[in-house]
């Protein structure tokens, strides 16, 4: 017999309270319980970064976090990037630089890149590539993604 865990958390600065099975991943809880489907499932083993979210200021693969672990935490997902004023500078830059094709990896890249720029506003190209090594894209070949991050950095 397993139990449901009562989770009180903040997601994209909004308070949330929900029950999740004790063995459910944060990824599944976000998508299936909270209803935030921007975070994508990729490899389910920590290689691809498609499910990247930010917990208390650190980027993580949400497929490798249990929902039960985020009780009391502050979670940021891709849905938290745009505001009523418009798209986040990273989102604009991704569109302008055509840094996506199929789009499945894009939410993970955006949340990961934001995690970098939040702490390092002017990273080098090498630093950007190193930081994004945990995110896989099978369409773009990465150059456009790196250019988009550099553009967002230079404009914010």
């Amino acid at each position: 017999m397993t139990t449901n865990i009562h989770i009180t958390t903040k997601i994209n600065n909004q308070p949330y309270e929900f029950l999740a099975p004790s063995y459910m991943s944060l990824l599944d809880a976000l998508r299936e319980i909270v209803g935030l489907t921007g975070t994508k499932e990729g490899c389910l083993d920590g290689n691809c970064g498609a499910c990247t979210v930010n917990i208390d200021g650190r980027i993580v693969d949400s497929c490798l976090v249990l929902a039960a672990e985020i009780d009391g935490c502050d979670v940021q997902t891709v849905e938290g990037l745009a505001t009523s004023e418009g798209l986040h500078p990273l989102q604009k830059a991704f569109l302008e630089e055509a840094a996506l094709q199929c789009g499945i990896c894009t939410p993970g890249f955006l949340v990961a890149a934001k995690g970098l720029l939040d702490n390092e506003p002017n990273p080098s190209e090498h630093r950007i590539r190193h930081w994004l090594a945990g995110n896989l894209c099978r369409c773009t070949g990465y150059d456009k993604i790196v250019k988009a991050v550099q553009k967002a950095a230079s404009e914010s």
Binding site: T2, T3, I5, P21, S22, Y23, M24, S25, L44, D45, G46, N47, G49, T52, I55, R58, I59, V60, D61, C63, L64, V65, L66, A68, E69, A112, G115, H130, W131, A133, G134, N135
Partner: protein
Amino acid sequence: MHPFNYVAPKTVEEAVNVLEKHGDKARPLAGGTDLLVQARGNKWDLEAVVDVKKIPEAMKLEASDDGLIIGSGVPCYQIYENEEVKKHYAGIVDGAFIIGGIQIQSRAAIGGNLCNAAPSGDAICPLIVYGATANIAGPNGERKIAVEDFCIGPGKTVIKNGELLVSISVPKPAKRSGAAYERFIPRNEMDIAVAAVAVSVVIDNTGENFESVNIALASVGPTPIVARKASDYLAGKPINDASISEAASIAKDEASPISDMRGTIEHRKHLIEVITNRMIKESVKRARG
């Protein structure tokens, strides 16, 4: 994922009680970057995972004159962002900095890497060359075991049912000492070591000779290997290309790799010689500041 309960005890005693109750059907959860992948693959028949991250002793990271304490749940980024650790334990930082990518390093713990006991675990050989000790709690109290004796096979450790790795103690390095760790992978990041070497050296007060040396090899045997002959050979020898090359050659013979999808026996042995040579030189460089 196969259903299991989630328990987040606040004390070591409570954690040990839960682990003892469930026997081999419970696993401690640190960063989860190995455990949750294995749980999905049904490697374990789990009734419960025991999250160690609410236990203060498991989250302690403290460098003092007595050495370094690394709680078993402390994630990689806390290791390589800590100024004291960077200054005195550069070899441990080398390992923490190359485990997975940034997302993994936010969660993956040094203690978890040790308990996962992969022959390629990047945190383990650095701990060995620093002479680290594992602090284990269990139903019958606490015990300590050298990290070099901790892994007993691929994925197998000395931890028994009901026991918990609480922390790792690393002695304060001697004066005129340095350590380094490097692995070979065909990619730049996000890969598993084909072969890897950690070295620590203490040099004598003339600065010209090795006083003592520890060399440990990863991914070239069922567990991390202490290259005892190569280490002993260098003690008291002058620091020069000839002695370092000879030690690297001895280390090569102490490796006992297998051929698999990542590399052949010949390739891995060659890598051990090359990386051992480099890491001895890097350790000397760090020891000389």
